[in-house]
């Protein structure tokens, strides 16, 4: 089931400049807005596949619910590491939302490929910044995904509403949204920074596989980090990976509140800036080494 969206229309008389010769701030924004709009249209082409894929992705949640039910029954306790059974399932559902924002499939591998085969030079000869282009592109893809997935996610969350004992207050919900947007930025710039390593090592997909596999566990996608031994809880909460899955979910559940919540968001913002700067520095340093292979 797939619907073909209307192809994007380009108005040649549009006053937006085609070159970067007159880079007034408005035109820069318009340029990346165009990238975002084209990417949006591209992404909407296969929304039927989207719906099916999203439903399929949630099916393992059934076995996860049953497994945790068995774990709680076996333990004979109503709460494990401060999580009741309902909170545990709610957490594992919310992690899907976190990952919806922070996962960037193919980003690092794509950057590394463009470095390797020389197609990166298109960003050098056109008035287009690589990171600016990619973040516009990803933002459009994420937005489409979120809008398209709203129906299946809505149905699944409605069916699982019994696991959500309480809903966050207005300010907490705003903090949750902020944590998700920061999760998107951390996910984007982290992967972009990994991709930039391609300037020094031609093959980074292998490193990427290992990092992503490890990230699955240490970001709290499998279980809340609080269940781990105290030493590992300390180590993993000091790392940026928790902000890609764990942190937004516990914010929603109200487990981080008051000054801890503000402090948590500040640290999350720090990591977003850190990776943005790192990706930018690696890009500019990498360009000095860039050989533009590929003719």
């Amino acid at each position: 089931m797939s619907y073909v969206a209307e192809p994007p229309r380009f108005d040649l008389n549009d006053p937006a400049p085609a070159s970067g010769g007159d880079l007034v701030p408005g035109s820069v924004w318009r340029k990346y807005y165009r990238v975002w709009r084209v990417s949006l249209a591209e992404r909407m082409t296969y929304r039927g596949d989207f719906l099916l894929g999203t439903f399929l992705r949630f099916l393992p949640m059934i076995t996860t619910i049953l497994l945790w039910q068995a774990i709680y029954d076996g333990s004979g306790q109503s709460s494990l590491a401060g999580f009741t059974y309902n909170q545990m399932i709610a957490y594992l559902l919310l992690v899907h939302i976190s990952r919806m924002f922070s996962s960037m499939p193919g980003l690092a591998a794509g950057i590394a490929r463009e470095i390797r085969d020389g197609t990166l030079k298109k960003y050098l000869i056109q008035p287009l910044d690589l990171l600016g282009y990619l973040i516009s592109y990803r933002a459009a893809h994420k937005m489409t995904y979120i809008v398209t997935a709203a129906v299946p996610y809505g149905i699944i969350f409605f069916l699982c509403r019994g696991f959500f004992d309480t809903m966050p207050s207005g300010p907490v919900f705003l903090a949750y949204l902020a944590s998700l947007i920061l999760a998107f930025l951390i996910g984007f710039y982290f992967e972009a920074a990994v991709g930039m390593v391609g300037f020094w090592f031609l093959e980074v997909t292998s490193v990427l596989y290992i990092v992503m596999t490890l990230n699955y566990f240490i970001s709290g996608q499998m279980l809340p980090l609080d269940l781990l031994p105290p030493f590992w809880v300390g180590v993993l909460k000091a790392m940026p990976f928790q902000y890609m899955a764990y942190f937004p979910a516990v914010v929603f559940l109200g487990k981080v509140q008051g000054p801890d919540l503000i402090w948590g968001l500040a640290i999350e913002a720090f990591w977003a800036i850190f990776f943005a700067v790192l990706a930018r520095v690696l890009y500019s340093r990498g360009l000095r080494r860039y050989g533009a292979y590929g003719g």
Partner: protein, 283 residues
């Protein structure tokens, strides 16, 4: 389009024909091993990822069993044996069949399937067994290692009957999984694209990762019935694991044997039916 070309080089009798399959499979395995070793870096990375993945699974269950002694009636070492059995069985499937089945839709789309169908050999054998993915073969050993470690920690006493039954039921589990994959692969003839089919396989195999007992409560009982007796994917890891670390259930051992024969026969028929619907794309 099923073709059998007879030449003077081919053995005349059926017995002779079947005897060449192990030799041919050995050659295909050797060829893919040589190819794999040409990319040793890739081999090592894929192996590292698999080791890491097993480590993550073990860390998950270590964390869980730090909080409870039993999960669905399975004690820690019994459960770890189950995890090892799943890892080994999945390793066998991925090593021998997954890559071949994944490739099938490409063969259909490009029309390259023609070349395979013209070969004087069984189509199902050639399509599903022509490549061995050696990079995931160590998973079988890793799974075996986890199983042995769990048995050692459990203080398991050697029992020939259990080991023999485990060998048989494990082979049955592999065969049933293969049959499932073959049916899903066959759909590629009609659908051409198989991405969602492989997602279906992933979903099926993710069901096999858990003991049946977690499904035996409330609304999940219907899932247990469906995936044990109608689409019996829950049998493939549960039966061999139970034979080794729980009470032997002759009824389930007999049942998995019957299911194996039936699923292999049905999947072969279905595959042949799919091939008859194949309309060569390129010619």
């Amino acid at each position: 389009m099923s073709a059998t070309i007879e030449t003077n080089e081919l053995p005349a009798s059926g017995a002779m024909t079947w005897r060449r399959y192990p030799r041919l499979y050995g050659r295909l395995g050797l060829f893919t091993l040589v190819r794999e070793l040409s990319f040793r870096g890739n081999f090592l990375v894929k192996m590292s990822v698999e080791i890491l993945w097993l480590g993550i699974m073990l860390a998950f269950y270590e964390t869980v069993f730090a909080r409870t002694n039993l999960v669905a009636g399975w004690a820690k070492q019994d459960y770890l044996f189950f995890v090892g059995c799943y890892f080994a069985l999945n390793g066998v499937i991925e090593t021998l069949f997954l890559e071949n089945c994944n490739e099938f839709s490409n063969l259909v789309r490009t029309g390259d399937l023609d070349f395979l169908l013209l070969k004087p050999i069984d189509e199902q054998f050639l399509i599903t067994c022509r490549r061995v993915d050696w990079s995931v073969a160590p998973n079988v050993l890793m799974g075996l290692g986890v199983m042995l470690m769990a048995l050692w920690n459990k203080g398991w006493e050697f029992d020939t009957v259990r080991v023999a039954l485990f060998g048989v039921t494990f082979a049955c589990g592999v065969a049933i999984s293969y049959a499932f994959m073959l049916v899903l692969t066959s759909f590629s003839v009609w659908l051409v694209r198989n991405q969602s089919l492989m997602e279906m396989w992933w979903l099926f195999s993710s069901l096999a990762r858990f003991p049946r007992e977690i499904f035996q409560r409330g609304w999940a009982v219907s899932l247990d019935v469906v995936f044990t007796y109608i689409l019996p994917i829950l049998l493939v890891v549960n039966v061999p694991s139970r034979v080794m670390v729980k009470a032997i259930e002759p009824r389930m051992v007999g049942f998995i044997a019957i299911v194996t024969v039936a699923s292999l026969a049905v999947s072969r028929k279905f595959f042949q039916r799919a091939l008859r619907s194949y309309r060569s794309a390129s010619s």
